[in-house]
């Protein structure tokens, strides 16, 4: 190609090709970055809007008060919400129920994730796919299905002390968050070298000893990730709760229910304030998860020249 110079531009074919490849590569990278950035801006915009809304509300209230800064501090929607006993109850119930749901999730996810990762059996792929059902099922359906399940024995016998009570909150949160924990634990066990366990067995261990002395300690970061993921999932749970646990104030009200109830009574300020509390909790959880799953991942991504 290079033997035939293009008379008009003075460039050889190879040079022209090199030039067009450079332009095409730049266009490719720029367009992908722009498309990606749009979504990132949307997330950022949503978070900033929540913050700005609360700030504006506080400012307009504080202007009417003689002590501007004192009013800003004490009368802003977040402070008002935090003083509200209903919201205080909802925060406590959220913390306790999410923690219990996360502990339950991990308790079930460790054996289940291990079995799926290590023990070959017929239908393993089917079970693996089956465990995605709580993740893909519409949340309302999960709640409704739980409600229907408690119409039947033996669940029927304890339905009175569970349905529309606090245990229903934990059960509904656990039903969904456990699936995420199982996914995480299976991935964790998949990444741990099974040879280590074999070596431990050859050195005289029972399977349980090999698991508890060798594999489980190696899975501790995955365990932390599974726990925080289940916790965050439980915090955001709403649909199943509404149906299975109800939305009774000072009884089965968790933070997501609070947002819904505040919106229903037209208190958008309150709803946004509670949302900000949840955003804060989610970001903390996200940071823990990211750190736990990959403490030194920065800069390790593959770089194309």
């Amino acid at each position: 190609m290079s033997d035939f110079p293009d008379l008009k531009s003075g460039l050889t074919g190879d040079e022209k090709r090199a030039c067009s490849i450079t332009i095409a590569n730049r266009a490719f990278v720029v367009s992908f970055v722009l498309i990606g950035a749009t979504y990132i801006l949307l997330i950022l915009g949503m978070l900033i809007a929540d913050g700005a809304y609360v700030f504006e509300q506080s400012k307009s209230k504080a202007r009417k008060s003689p002590h501007f800064w004192a009013s800003m501090m004490s009368d802003n929607p977040i402070a008002v919400s935090l003083r509200d006993p209903k919201i205080q109850y909802s925060i406590w119930l959220s913390m306790i129920s999410c923690t219990l749901a996360a502990i339950l999730s991990v308790l079930f996810a460790v054996p289940l994730g291990y079995v799926l990762s290590r023990i070959p059996f017929r239908g393993r792929n089917f079970v693996d796919a089956f465990l995605d059902i709580p993740i893909v099922l519409p949340p309302l359906i999960v709640g409704l299905s739980l409600l229907i399940l408690f119409q039947f024995a033996p669940f029927k016998w304890v339905a009175r002390s569970i349905v529309y009570q606090i245990p229903a909150v934990i059960l509904a949160q656990w039903a969904v968050s456990c699936a995420y924990a199982v996914r995480t634990m299976k991935m964790t066990f998949d990444q741990i070298n099974p040879r280590c366990e074999q070596v431990a067995i050859s050195l005289g261990c029972s399977r349980f000893q090999a698991f508890s002395w060798v594999t489980f300690p190696e899975a501790r970061l995955g365990l932390l990730t599974a726990f925080t993921l289940a916790w965050a999932r439980s915090l955001g749970e709403f649909g199943p709760l509404l149906i299975f646990a109800g939305a009774t104030r000072m009884k089965t009200e968790v933070l997501s229910t609070s947002v819904f109830l505040e919106m229903n009574v037209g208190n958008i300020e309150g709803a946004v304030a509670v949302s900000l509390l949840m955003i804060f909790a989610s970001i903390v959880v996200l940071m823990i998860t990211r750190y736990a799953s990959n403490p030194s991942a920065d800069g390790k991504a593959a770089v194309l020249p």
């Binding site: 070298n193 040879r195 280590c196 074999q198 070596v199 431990a200 067995i201 050859s202 050195l203 005289g204 261990c205 029972s206 000893q209 002395w213 060798v214 300690p217 190696e218 501790r220």
Partner: protein, 235 residues
């Protein structure tokens, strides 16, 4: 003594059938074969990770065909070492003794002896992360020898090492061969290793074990040049 009598093993797409193999006590046997010939499957059957479909496996005069791998008393060194990453080198070496509930003081002295033999005395408090390939294999070998097994199974113990490390670990294996008199089965595809170490040489070809004559070391040298230690496709 390792004795395989008419053993059949199913290993994924292929099967090994009617395998006969006898390694007298104290001998160092090398099993050679191409990648995918089933060397590791056979080794796993002896250790007990893979069930045999027919035949019997005897170790030191005992039929262990249906015995749990934990009770067979085989020291096992996998290719990648497979060190316990959450434990220190010392804890790795002490593992088999801890499982056997050996007295703490005896563990300490045994670990010290092992570390000296393996040349890893200065590494005892380190975690496996950050050890070199050679150091890892030393630790893994020490861990396998800790409970003084009468049988040692090595699965390509040198193949992941560079040439200098390979020579060092080879020397270590020769030392252990001289000192301990452990019955050893060493699986490899490297003729050089086989020639330097083997009392007996076996080849796994088309699902059968053949007895091969030990090869003089100088013939091997030219062949080793041709065989790259690292698969070029994996780079």
């Amino acid at each position: 003594m390792i004795c395989l009598n008419d053993v059949s093993v199913h290993a994924g797409p292929f099967r090994l059938e009617g395998i006969h193999l006898v390694i007298p006590s104290g001998d160092y046997a090398v099993l050679m074969g191409k990648t995918g010939a089933g060397k590791t499957s056979l080794l796993e059957a002896i250790i007990g990770f893979k069930a045999v479909t027919a035949g019997t496996i005897c170790l030191a005069g005992r039929d262990v065909t249906r015995e749990n791998p934990a009770l067979r008393g085989i020291g096992y060194l996998p290719q990648d070492g497979a060190l316990f990453s959450t434990m220190t080198v010392e804890e790795n070496l002490a593992f088999a003794l801890r499982v056997r509930k050996v007295d703490k003081r005896r563990i300490v002295s045994r670990v010290r002896d092992l570390a000296e033999l393996m040349g890893i005395g200065q590494l005892l408090s380190r975690k496996p992360h950050g050890l070199s390939g050679g150091e890892r294999q030393r630790v893994a070998l020490g861990r396998a020898l800790a409970f003084e097994p009468s049988i040692l199974c090595l699965d390509e113990p040198l193949s992941a090492l560079d040439s200098e490390m390979r020579e060092q670990i080879l020397q270590l294996l020769l030392t252990i061969k001289r000192m301990k008199g452990v019955t050893t089965l060493h699986v490899t595809h490297d003729l050089g290793e086989a020639a330097r170490l083997a009392d007996r040489l076996f080849r796994l070809v088309d699902g059968k074990v053949e007895i091969a004559d030990p090869i003089p070391a100088r013939e091997v040298h030219s062949q080793r040049e041709v065989q790259p230690s690292v698969d070029p496709c994996s780079i």
